[in-house]
């Protein structure tokens, strides 16, 4: 009778534990990936004032050939670079880039944003060799073309928690989580969140060239990979 009671109690507790969110770190996260664009970066730049002055190389790769346009203000100030393209971005800022001229998607232009939350710490002379990699895949582009939104949180793995899988052709390890999961919390659980990438189907207003759409965040142009 005693063994049966203990077993029943354990089963009840196990059922309660299983009902909890597996990504829940049991810590309070005021921010999540659905917050307004720029909020997480701004909090980070406020908490760590020195971060925003560092120019962090970011490399944007497309599924195939294409062009990446960086903006520093109006759409007339775009700098067109063949993909993969890289530029120096500052923590706490948000950058709107244009991806176009993709071989698999003729005529398609998309405008993802990149919100930088943190920086990497390579040796100073090798800074440009270790950019934050942002890889936009075919599935993500097609999702955006279907009027849906893709939000990606890029994080630096904690060595003790790194996923023991081999990178194939240098492709990043990617996990797709349910929509009700806080991606920032999930990334923090696995390592250090570095950037938020958002991709949707909105394009600039053709009737208004001075659209609010484009970013004016400070950019640094660095040698391309």
């Amino acid at each position: 009778m005693r063994l049966s009671l203990i077993l029943t109690s354990w089963l009840a507790l196990a059922a309660t534990a299983a009902a909890q969110n597996p990504e829940d770190t049991r810590r309070f996260y005021p921010l999540d990936h659905q917050q307004p664009v720029g909020r997480a970066g701004r909090w980070q730049a406020t908490i760590y004032p020195g971060l925003s002055s560092y120019s962090q190389p970011v490399r944007i790769a497309l599924p195939s050939e294409g062009e990446v346009t960086f903006y520093q203000g109006s759409p007339q100030a775009g700098v067109v670079t063949p993909a993969p393209a890289q530029a120096g971005m500052q923590v706490g800022y948000v950058y709107r880039v244009k991806i176009a001229q993709m071989a698999d998607y003729p005529g398609v232009e998309l405008y993802p944003t990149i919100e930088l939350l943190d920086r990497l710490h390579p040796p100073t002379e090798l800074k440009d060799k270790f950019p934050i990699p942002i890889e936009l895949t075919t599935a993500e582009i097609e999702t955006a073309l279907n009027d849906q939104m893709v939000t990606k949180v890029i994080y630096l793995e904690q060595p003790q928690l790194a996923t023991p899988t081999r990178q194939i052709d240098g492709k990043m390890h990617t996990e797709v989580l349910e929509h009700d999961i806080n991606l920032l919390e999930a990334a923090d659980r696995r390592g250090r969140p570095i950037a938020i990438v958002r991709l949707g189907g909105r394009i600039p207003d053709p009737q208004s060239p001075q659209d609010e759409f484009f970013s004016t965040s400070p950019l640094t142009f660095i040698p391309q990979p």
């Binding site: 109690s9 009840a12 307004p36 999702t143 939104m149």
Partner: protein
């Protein structure tokens, strides 16, 4: 038997405790307001204030353009919503401009950025397969909220008018389409996408606006009927009081383009809710803080713009231009607060595990030099000694 009832009672207690669930989960959890609330010190009061993170506004001296300061786009959240008219393909979309309509401004599929917080009257014409049918729907474009800001910055709102909608309109029915962003718990997919509720597909008695509001955050509402707003000599359409207004002919096919003019506020009646007051605070990193000076570049301190006794702008529940009738205005904060007493003596114990073990510092050195001893004749230096 006695042990049996004891065991049964214990089991019931365990099961009841687990069924509640909240107690087990809450035991080691701490809660603070969500980020949207932390960014504002209180209802209708702009940030920052004591303990408030990150202002929602650009500091003075910096042009309020997007992305200029860290987190800038939040300061300039999208003020327009991009509507994407998907179909029927070939349909022309126009809109009301004052006392007239601008026709053929967009052909579906096409897009346009509508300013938020306003209602527009559209004119849908040249619908393929519906010769002679012209519809004048209204489009409510809702303001950006925290939940929809990121989505509206990156996505257009898809709007497709299908045959069923047109059939309903032609048979004197009223069609309401609500485009909303579902809350996470109502999202079926791992990727965020808008959903659409149509009045004709809901059960009787269900309000699509209320239902969409329950499921998520509304971004646009389209209402369609078969009322003709361009009947000659009409008295209740665009020309008011029976007088024909000057009609400006604007036709997109002739290369003319005029932005739409809102026919009404977002609210059904009344004006805009006054904006939150900005009181001053820290600027961006590396920038000096700034202060709003009462009576100079900020409203006079103690001079509320509405009659709420807390001295802050509030909802216009006191109609302007009438004697104030409010005798009491009480806001009670019933939030249970447990933030502990202030700490007067802090003790922090830190420990490395495993501990640190290194060679102990040297405290005694014994140094002996042994010199060789040579007798005369055993060395060749100096030479004269030989």
């Amino acid at each position: 038997m006695r042990f049996y009832f004891l065991a049964l009672g214990t089991l019931v207690i365990v099961c009841v405790g687990c069924a509640d669930g909240q107690q087990l989960v809450r035991k080691n959890e701490y809660h603070a307001p969500p980020a949207q609330m932390l960014a504002q010190p209180g209802p209708m009061v702009g940030g920052p204030g004591p303990g408030v993170m990150a202002a929602n506004f650009p500091p003075p001296g910096i042009m309020p353009v997007n992305y200029m300061v860290p987190g800038g786009p939040e300061a300039a959240a999208p003020r327009t919503s991009q509507m994407k008219f998907l179909g029927p393909e070939g349909m022309h979309v126009g809109w009301q401009i004052g006392q007239a309509f601008a026709e053929h401004q967009i052909m579906a599929p096409g897009r346009y950025n509508f300013s938020q917080g306003a209602t527009y009257r559209l004119k849908l014409s040249d619908i393929p397969g519906r010769e002679g049918l012209t519809i004048y729907p209204t489009l409510h474009v809702y303001p950006t909220l925290s939940q929809t800001s990121a989505y509206l910055s990156h996505n257009a709102l898809p709007l497709r008018i299908n045959d069923e909608d047109l059939d309903q309109v032609e048979t004197n029915n009223f069609v309401t389409k609500v485009i909303y962003l579902p809350d996470a718990k109502y999202q079926e997919l791992a990727i965020a996408g808008v959903e659409e509720l149509v009045s004709t597909r809901l059960g009787p008695g269900l309000d699509p606006v209320a239902e969409a509001d329950r499921r998520g955050t509304i971004m646009a509402v389209l209402r369609m009927g078969n009322m003709d707003y361009e009947m000659p000599g009409q008295t209740n359409g665009l020309t008011m009081n029976g007088q024909d207004a000057a009609i400006d002919l604007v036709d997109g096919e002739a290369g003319q383009f005029v932005p739409p003019q809102p026919i009404g506020d977002f609210q059904a009646a009344g004006g805009n809710v006054p904006d939150a007051m900005v009181m001053g605070g820290p600027a961006g990193p590396g920038q000096p803080p700034y202060d709003m000076i009462a009576g100079v570049n900020a409203p006079m301190y103690g001079m509320p713009t509405v009659g709420t006794p807390i001295g802050l702008p509030g909802p216009p529940h006191l109609p302007y231009g009438r004697p104030a009738g409010l005798k009491s205005h009480t806001i009670r904060n019933l939030t249970s607060v447990d933030i502990g007493e202030p700490v007067d003596h802090m003790l922090i114990d830190v420990k490395h595990d495993p501990g640190i073990r290194m060679p102990h510092p040297v405290k005694h050195v014994e140094y002996t030099e042994t010199h060789p001893v040579y007798s005369p004749g055993e060395t060749s230096v100096p030479a004269w000694s030989n």
